[in-house]
């Protein structure tokens, strides 16, 4: 699968500032279509900040400022004519802590399609919700209690509900910000399997603290340190044969 590499997201000299503090320094990165790219690095290295540049979630933080270019399908997502609302329908996001809305399971998944007006009838909406829950591997567990609150599910189920919610608007890219850090190993394994399946239809970028997870789920790995992109390449190469000393230190557990 490595042979057909189409670039989905391209960043050119991206820098991010929080007030005076520079969190990301001139990052150039390519993210390939239908692959999983993992961003690893010690805490505070800027990998989450970088992730949030791809769907412009940093816009919601007042003091945050971005320079450089982020291109999705060769289109600059920071140009003035681009509506971040539409962008975020194309680039879904799953967060560190499962954050289902305090609504029913059905309404959680139906949220995106409703605000974007994706369906024309109630039946269509129901089909879409069922479909998304199936894709997220949650449908069989919740089909009898679609009207219960999303917050009544277990942590792993909540996270899959959030994934279902994200894929309900058929995004092209799914960003995952440490999606398993609040979950136990079994729930984590379920999510990782799910990521493997989702990869066929979506481009996935995942931030993770677990190097084993990065090695298991991703084809490409980027190592960040202090806001710099230190090394980027195929996951197998990064883990077996890192070119950079810092990357090696981090991967072998000497730092971080």
């Amino acid at each position: 699968m490595v042979s057909k590499k189409k670039i989905k997201v391209l960043t050119k000299r991206v820098s991010v500032f929080y007030g005076d503090k520079q969190a990301i320094k001139d990052v150039n990165l390519e993210i390939y279509e239908n692959q999983v790219t993992s961003l690893i690095g010690p805490s505070g290295c800027g990998k989450s900040t970088f992730l949030r540049c791809i769907n412009r979630m940093n816009d919601t933080i007042d003091i945050c400022r971005i320079t450089g270019k982020v291109l999705i399908d060769n289109d600059d997502i920071y140009k003035a004519t681009l509506d971040p609302v539409l962008l975020r329908a194309r680039v879904g996001m799953v967060f560190q802590k499962p954050n289902p809305f305090p609504k029913s399971i059905f309404d959680n998944v139906a949220y995106g399609p409703q605000i974007h007006g994706l369906t024309n009838s109630k039946e269509e909406l129901e089909d879409l919700v069922v479909n998304s829950l199936q894709k997220a591997g949650l449908f069989n567990e919740v089909k009898d209690r679609m009207n219960e609150s999303g917050t009544s599910l277990s942590g792993g189920q909540q996270q899959r509900l959030c994934i279902a919610r994200a894929i309900a608007v058929s995004p092209e890219i799914i960003l995952m910000d440490e999606p398993c850090s609040a979950l136990d190993p079994i729930a984590t394994a379920v999510i990782e399997e799910l990521i493997d399946e989702l990869m066929q239809n979506y481009t996935i970028v995942i931030v993770t603290h677990s190097m084993q997870q990065a090695a298991r789920v991703s084809q490409q790995t980027a190592y960040f340190h202090m806001g710099n992109l230190i090394e980027f390449g195929e996951t197998s190469k990064i883990f077996q044969n890192p070119k950079n000393k810092q990357t090696q230190d981090y991967i072998t557990g000497r730092i971080g």
């Binding site: 609302v85 975020r88 879904g92 967060f95 809305f101 609504k103 949220y111 605000i115 609150s149 994200a166």
Partner: protein
């Protein structure tokens, strides 16, 4: 010795005991040598000793103040000569009251000299007995705390006991408020029961006419009063509804603006200004309603050839609504700000706009808190008096027309109790009946509000 000097003395003694107990514990520790130590820190031993000083003292002092009047009566009666009691036409207890009310320095001319002597005796003995009581209480406290200090030894765990007493003290303090509430209820209930002896409960709750004028003397020409409270309840309801119609939309939208849209700069200006509104005395709102809003509405009505009374439910209700705005806005602001950022992020990440997020995620998540805020505001509005007195009048009209004068429960209570009243006429007692109705209603509202707030509080997790 008065209570003031007693308090000063007890503080001095407590300081000394702290020092002494600490020292004693340190000495014991020292004597025990390296391997063995007291199980608690020295301060716990001295604290334990202080508890033995203070708790019995407080209990005994309270007992003294409760027992004092009883002791006084006996003392006075025993001092007054048999003859004076025999000559007195009323009950001896009235004589005691008369003695107590005598001003010794300047007795009312013509007062019985026996009684003046009794008063002088009373004052002196009282002072002596009180000083004696206080000193004995103090010495008992000292004795107990010194025993406590004596008890310092490695087998005695002071910390555990002090912690237990801590809990007990906290409990007692929190019970004070509850006991007070119960006392208030009882003070209302007894008077209200007397009222319901005269007027049947059914007539009061469902009667359609309110005119509480009673003939004071048998021969007086006056209507037999009627005590149907429905017009008053209806007036209260009408004014509350008007107030809420003003306060809920304005308060809620300003809360949404302040918590979600405003820049920190704007927020830092608007929020304190809104809170100033909450600090305006209700009498001042009353002026505003009576002098500005009422006539303005009347003038406005004239333009559309509507007849608006210069004292109208609309004027009072709308000004009351303005008064309640900061109440709703700051409570809702708190609950809206408490909606976790992760929920908002989740919504934005789905491509929702700010207003969609507010409408579909933030408000539903904060709804229980907002409902709680509104219910608390309603109970505030129901209990508000001044604005209504000044702007809505006191005529108990049964009407749903906001342009007419109406009256509320609190206003009626005020008018019933103003001036000289005899406390056994139905007119005066009606105030208590109204009071307890009001109390029950606001209590229910508050309980309901708290229940809602509690039930949904942990829903975000």
């Amino acid at each position: 010795m008065g209570l003031g000097s007693f308090c000063v003395l007890i503080i001095l003694i407590a300081t000394f005991i702290t020092w002494y107990g600490n020292n004693k514990a340190l000495r014991v520790n020292h004597a025990l040598g390296k391997d063995l130590k007291l199980p608690s820190l020295p301060k716990y031993y001295s604290f334990y000793a202080i508890l033995w000083l203070i708790i019995p003292s407080i209990i005994l002092i309270l007992t003294w103040y409760i027992a004092k009047p009883l002791i006084l009566d006996v003392l006075v009666l025993s001092f007054i000569s048999e003859d004076t009691i025999k000559n007195f036409s009323g009950d001896p207890s009235m004589l005691v009251d008369r003695v107590k009310s005598i001003n010794i320095e300047r007795p009312f001319p013509g007062t019985d000299t026996n009684l003046i002597e009794a008063a002088v005796y009373l004052k002196k003995t009282l002072e002596r007995v009180q000083t004696f009581t206080f000193l004995s209480i103090l010495s008992l406290g000292c004795f107990l705390s010194f025993i406590a200090i004596k008890k310092i030894n490695p087998a005695f765990r002071a910390r555990q006991i002090v912690e237990k007493y801590n809990v007990a003290i906290l409990l007692v303090c929190s019970v004070v408020a509850i006991v007070t509430t119960i006392g208030i209820v009882f003070s209302l209930i007894f008077e209200a029961l007397r009222f319901f002896d005269k007027i049947p409960l059914f007539d009061f709750l469902f009667g359609l006419s309110w005119s509480p004028q009673m003939a004071i003397r048998e021969d007086q020409v006056a209507s037999q009063g009627s005590f149907g409270a429905i017009p008053i309840f209806a007036g209260t309801l009408l004014i509350t509804i008007i107030a809420m119609t003003v306060a809920i939309p304005v308060g809620l939208t300003s809360a949404i603006f302040l918590s979600q849209y405003s820049s920190p700069m704007t927020r830092s200006i608007i929020k304190p200004l809104l809170e100033i509104l909450a600090g305006v005395p209700t009498v001042v709102y009353g002026f505003f309603a009576a002098i500005t809003v009422g006539p303005f509405l009347k003038g406005l009505g004239d333009v559309f050839s509507l007849n608006i009374a210069s004292e109208s439910a609309l004027a009072a209700g709308s000004v009351m609504g303005i008064m309640i705005i900061p109440f709703i806005s700051s409570l809702s602001d708190d609950v809206i700000s408490a909606v976790p950022q992760s929920l908002k992020d989740g919504s934005y990440a789905m491509g929702a706009t700010k207003s969609e997020t507010v409408k579909k995620v933030i408000l539903p998540a904060a709804l229980p808190g907002i409902v709680g805020a509104i219910l608390l505001a309603i109970s505030r509005a129901v209990g508000e008096t001044m604005i209504v007195v000044m702007a809505a009048g006191i005529a108990a009209n049964l009407t749903a027309n906001p342009l007419e004068a109406v009256t509320t429960v609190t206003v009626q209570i005020v008018t019933l109790l103003i001036g000289d009243q005899e406390f056994d006429s139905a007119k005066t007692l009606a105030a208590f009946a109204l009071g307890i109705t009001l109390f029950v209603v606001t209590l229910m509202l508050n309980l309901f509000a708290l229940r809602i707030v509690h039930k949904y509080r942990e829903k975000y997790e």
